[in-house]
Amino acid sequence: MAKVTIDGKTIEVADGTTILQAARMIGPDVAPPTMCYHSKLKTSGGYCRTCLVEVTKGSEKDPRPMPKLVASCRTNVMDGMEVGNLTSPKVIEARKGVVEFLLLNHPLDCPICDQAGECHLQDLGYEHGSAKTRTDFERRTFEKISLGDKIQLHMTRCILCYRCVKVADQITDNRVHGVLNRGDHSEISTYIENVIDNDFSGNVIDVCPVGALTDKTFRFKSRVWFTKPVCAHRNCDKCSGKVHLWYKGEEVLRVTGRKDQWGEVEEFICNTCRFDKKKTSDWEIDGPAPVNRHSVISANHYQTLKMGSEFKLNDVKPLSITEGEGS
């Protein structure tokens, strides 16, 4: 066991836990933001540098501070370690720089992008970035690519987090896409725009932290804050069948995997559930999905939804605002 202090809060965790996991165990107040790390994907993390933290005390035996900021998703805790995240001005400054780097080539097309409202980069830029860009250079641009008839790839928005590559490696049995070229020229692509037709290929949409991989069946249908996420399940022989249905009125616009409080998918779902089952009759509805009170999705009078068996879509009265407990 190792005792680690993050932003003045102490927790005892098992050896081999990373600083990021320990911080998440303490709570969302001290957890560093992440873009490339995904808890359900092995060997993810270490690319984006958003989770940089300052280690002010290495361990009980060797109390020297670490000379540079470290990526918390790839650094294991030591007994007696002291970590500064939001309390460290060095980290705040470095994170601002990281966001600036991530946004160097990222287009500011949030009004068009389907991910807007649930985009991690949007949140990150809002919380840690500066409101102004300093570069004078043109952003790199790519043509839109269709990966099959269900997935749209906007390479211009990609921040090269490698999450989709890891999904293809670990969840599906055959990967046909990857990162081509090097450095500034690197891009997610398939050879000769190969069609991704694996049963679990749709999960690349869910793991993409930005709007680079989006659902073509949901393309421009609605903004996320006009839809209401609802937990639902069905008996599926390929996956767990536990999903979020995104309702607009009585129509299911989109099906995604259930995401936890860190925005990471809990269980990967198959393409049949994601793309083909878009009727309420296909699903057993469990109740409203938990949405952070500060999320723009809850701007849509979301709390009027009832729990469990009481839930019927006809009960949703959009104009009666009741005081419910926060999600």
Binding site: D109, P111, I112, A131, F220, K221, S222
Partner: protein, 177 residues
């Protein structure tokens, strides 16, 4: 509690002889009336003459086009989520090849409706718009015979290419440090 010094205490007392004649009171009243005849009129002969509006007046909305006549609105939905009266609804569509001169970006509003009976003219939609697309103008929403006609669609809201609506007085520029 006394709010102003203009209140008079009403006292019931016998009138004097001059007061009983009533003539001084009549003439002082008439003189006030005649004075008003020569004063500047407070009313205007609308609609021949219209009053000048304050630059911040918030009247009927306009959906702007850019210099090349393309619609600015990309149906991002920020005006609708900002609207406290929930008056705005929209449907988005993807721009096809060959429509580049109609819409500025790859997504556009296929349907854009404002319910003018719901609208409270607060101007938050204008504040929320990231694309300089929606502005409130000094135009007045005219009365109609049925409620349904107050749901204004794109045919009313989008400005015509050849008759642009001037919003320079309302345009705000923000400076980011």
């Amino acid at each position: 509690m006394q709010l102003t010094n203009r209140s008079k205490v009403v006292v019931k007392k016998e009138m004097t002889f001059v007061e009983k004649l009533y003539l001084p009171a009549i003439f002082s009243g008439l003189s006030i009336t005649i004075k008003h005849l020569f004063k500047k009129k407070a009313t205007l002969r609308y609609p021949e003459v219209t009053r000048e509006f304050a630059p911040v007046y918030r009247g009927m909305h306009v959906l702007k086009r850019d210099e090349q006549g393309r619609e600015n609105c990309t149906a991002c939905g920020l005006c609708a989520v900002a609207c406290p009266a929930e008056a705005i609804t929209m449907d988005a569509a993807e721009r096809n090849k060959g429509e580049e001169n109609l819409y500025r970006e790859e997504k556009y509003a296929a349907k854009y409706e404002i319910n003018m009976l719901r609208c409270i003219y607060c101007g938050l939609c204008e504040e929320a718009c990231p694309k300089d697309a929606i502005y409130l103008t000094d135009r007045i929403v005219h009365s109609e015979y049925t409620r349904g006609k107050f749901v204004f669609g794109k045919d009313v809201l989008v400005e015509k290419v050849d008759e642009r609506i001037d919003i320079t007085k309302r345009k705000k520029t923000y400076k980011i440090d």
